[in-house]
Amino acid sequence: MNGLTILLGTASAEVKAKLSGVLQGEGYDVDSAGLAPDLFARLGERTLDLVLLSDDLAETNVLDLTTRIHDLHPKLPIVVVATEPSVRDAVEAIKHGAYYYLEASIPDSDLLDVIAGALELELELIEEAEHRRARRLVSFEDLESIEAIDSIMRRHDFASSRLVGVLQDIQKEMRYLTHDALRHVAGRLGIPLPRVYSVATFYKSFSLKPRGRHTVSVCLGTACHVSGGVGILEKLERELGIKAGETTFDERFSLESVRCVGCCGLAPVFVVDEDFHGKVTQEEIASILENYE
């Protein structure tokens, strides 16, 4: 058992026996229904990972069925198996929301590949959704972030010459620059998107990758370099388990090296957010980091 459940919709005992055998042999849990109402009842009562629809269900057009299931469960992959395949039906099925359209005569291994592909896609979608939720992203369906970005641009009078400042403020608010944010800025300021990208990637202070809640910057200015700054960076890398330029898995810290924070009299220095820690030794680092959640 691999813990994944597939609902099989077919009226033919022969098709049912063949497909169930193949799928169960691969470890899938298979449930089946021979009539459309039964099918919807199953959809309502249990969690499913995929629907496999044959075109032999009585009184029901498989394309209508696909549409209805897709409307109810947009993220549930639907694979249509056609006993009488036609190109026109294939196109229509995909248009109606099917993930794939197969001929019933297809070799078992190909069928399993398609199903595995569909499930993987589903997993990716779920992961992405969770990922977004986890970091309250700024996906652009999110009206609030459009609002926030607009108000930042308003502060800069929507002037295209203030692009650098606009991006800095967006990054401050959202911790990093998303593609959606850059696209929105480009549109509103009337700057071609490639130019916005060239600015966003030119300056070191911008990040296109998610950043942690706290930014740890280790100064590697000359005074810090001669006073053991590299040792401090290496210690932080070991302590956090990441390299400079990376973010910890729990998104607590991002680690980076910077060129001189201008406190050379206090070398070696590292900065967490806006707190400066001067004349530090490797020994003190762990206890300093504890202050940041």
Partner: protein
């Protein structure tokens, strides 16, 4: 509030012995001369009234009502003030060029360059944080002299406090009618806004800085045309460093003649240095041009700590060079530093002792510049990378005979062919370290030995049993448990486990951990 007489009487009641010695009697301050830093520690930078109470904004009315713009320019020319950002171009001449330049649209701009990128220098940050109005006053006077009506302060994003201070100062100056329309009732208008940099070293270069202000990626362009002809949005633009601007009110108030009385023949006035590294008293100092390095490092700085031996001073940031002990009596001004192969730069002076490896330092600067090269021109982008590769090989014990000569050859090509100052000066740290410390390079290349015991590939850590007290601090601090030994007995370092992080060396109070140089076959 105490009346003045109260204050005198309370001073009289102090005992004869110096409870609180005067600033000027302390070794660190004795030979300093504070002009740009004249208000250091004396005022609250968030209160414009305090600046005014100390005589601030007195030069402005003089420049607005008693002097013509030409007279202001002449005064600055007489003073002999040169750009404090690094190149040392005479400020008065720069102003004159901008003043005489024709502007098609009628606009002219002045810019304060506070993109202090040189590692080891922090006077610009300090000035903006401690005395922002002095900088603003200088800018208003300059704008008046050049006929500019708009100004920008371009500050590094890494200096959030400086951004807050200068922003607040601008607001206050506007409230007091010292910025904005009809300044002090004259018909002169001038506005200033703050622009934050994006963390790119090359933006300190003036053409790159202007591109950044215009909202583009900060890449330099060839000059001419110079900013004074075609700068921001194609208009004449004058860019000066923070320290240069902070000197202007003094010069207008007390006269160019007076200012030119300080300093050497070619380098007038005072210069702020950030004295840092392996020196007892670290911090910003302001001294007359021409003071010797010995006075700076030993009299003001108090020499090298922990009884170590002085080795060199690095001046001018990544574009500068290293000045060895043999030149310690060098008078510090633009010309003398250039003769020694270094530059004044923005004024970073990093003191190094015998524990600093000059080859490692050269590699540090070159890798800094490799990262900061904007990539526009080939000699800088590719040449610096090749230099870094050779230097990395040398410090990682893979140096080959002929590497030093190859470095020199590359350096020559990069210097000659690069587009902007970053590339043209990039080889300086390598060239000066080769010039003065060739034996160290040779030791690395030929004998695979790092005399300063810095290059990890050439050292092992071991415990010096005669000094080790067995205090176990190193045992606790070692991240890989490579040190062992019972309390109160000399410890041992397991060389197979040791990752050479140096934590034990750093923490040992008894100098019982030695980083011995070994030969690698």
């Amino acid at each position: 509030m105490k009346s003045p007489s109260d204050r005198t009487s309370s001073r009289k009641s102090l005992p004869e012995t110096d409870v609180c010695p005067e600033l000027a009697s302390l070794g660190f301050f004795k030979s300093q001369r504070l002009l740009a830093l004249r208000h250091r520690g004396l005022l609250n930078p968030e209160e414009i009234d305090e600046y005014i109470a100390l005589g601030g904004y007195a030069a402005l009315p003089k420049a607005l009502f008693d002097m013509t713009p030409e007279e202001i320019v002449d005064e600055v020319k007489t003073s002999g003030l040169r750009g404090r950002g690094g190149a040392g171009f005479p400020t008065g001449i720069k102003w004159e060029l901008a003043r005489n330049a024709e502007s098609k649209s009628g606009s002219k701009y002045v810019v304060c360059n506070a993109d202090e990128g040189d590692p080891g220098a922090f006077m610009d940050r300090s000035l903006l944080e401690a005395d922002p109005h002095a900088v603003l006053e200088g800018m208003v006077i300059g704008a008046r002299a050049m006929g500019a009506s708009e100004g920008f302060v371009y500050v590094r994003d890494e200096y959030p406090h400086a951004v807050r201070m200068i922003t607040r100062a601008i607001e206050q100056a506007e409230d007091y009618g010292l910025l904005g329309s009809d300044i002090l009732g004259s018909d002169f208008d001038f506005r200033v806004s703050v622009v934050r940099g994006g963390g790119a070293f090359v933006c300190g270069e003036e053409t790159a800085l202007m591109a950044s202000i215009e909202g583009r990626e900060g890449r330099p362009r060839p000059r001419p045309p110079y900013p004074s002809q075609s700068g921001l949005w194609g208009c004449p633009t004058n860019i000066n460093n923070v320290e240069t601007w902070a000197n202007i009110p003094c010069i207008v108030e007390r006269g160019g003649e007076w200012y030119s009385g300080i300093g050497t023949k070619e380098s007038k006035g005072t210069k702020i240095f950030s004295l840092v590294g392996k020196v007892v008293n670290t911090g910003l100092i302001e001294v007359p041009m021409g003071m010797t390095l010995r006075e700076i490092v030993f009299d003001i700085g108090g020499g090298v700590p922990r009884g170590r031996k002085f080795k060199a001073v690095q001046s001018g940031g990544p574009s500068g060079g290293c000045i060895p002990e043999s030149l310690i009596d060098l008078p510090v001004d633009y010309e003398e530093l250039a003769k020694a192969g270094a530059i004044m730069g923005s004024g970073g002076l990093i003191v190094m002792d015998e524990d600093t490896c000059m080859v490692d330092l050269a590699r540090y600067f070159v890798s800094f510049l490799e990262e900061e090269s904007c990539g526009k021109c080939v000699p800088c982008r590719e040449g610096i990378k090749r230099m870094r590769e050779i230097l990395t090989d040398i410090v990682e014990a893979r140096g080959k005979e002929g590497d030093i000569e190859r470095l020199e050859e590359l350096a020559y090509a990069i210097k000659e062919a690069s587009l902007c100052g970053l590339g043209k000066t990039a080889p300086n740290p390598v060239l000066t370290t080769i010039r003065y410390f060739r034996d160290e390079y040779e030791s690395h290349v030929l004998h695979k030995r790092c005399p300063a015991k810095v290059c990890k590939a050439m050292i092992v850590y071991r415990v010096v049993p005669e000094r080790c007290t067995g205090c176990q601090r190193c045992v606790q601090v070692c991240p890989v448990n490579a040190i062992s030994g019972p309390r109160s007995q000399p410890h041992n370092v397991d060389l197979d486990k040791c990752i050479k992080c140096g934590a034990c060396y750093e923490i040992c109070k008894f100098d019982a951990i030695a980083g011995d140089a070994i030969y690698i076959e």
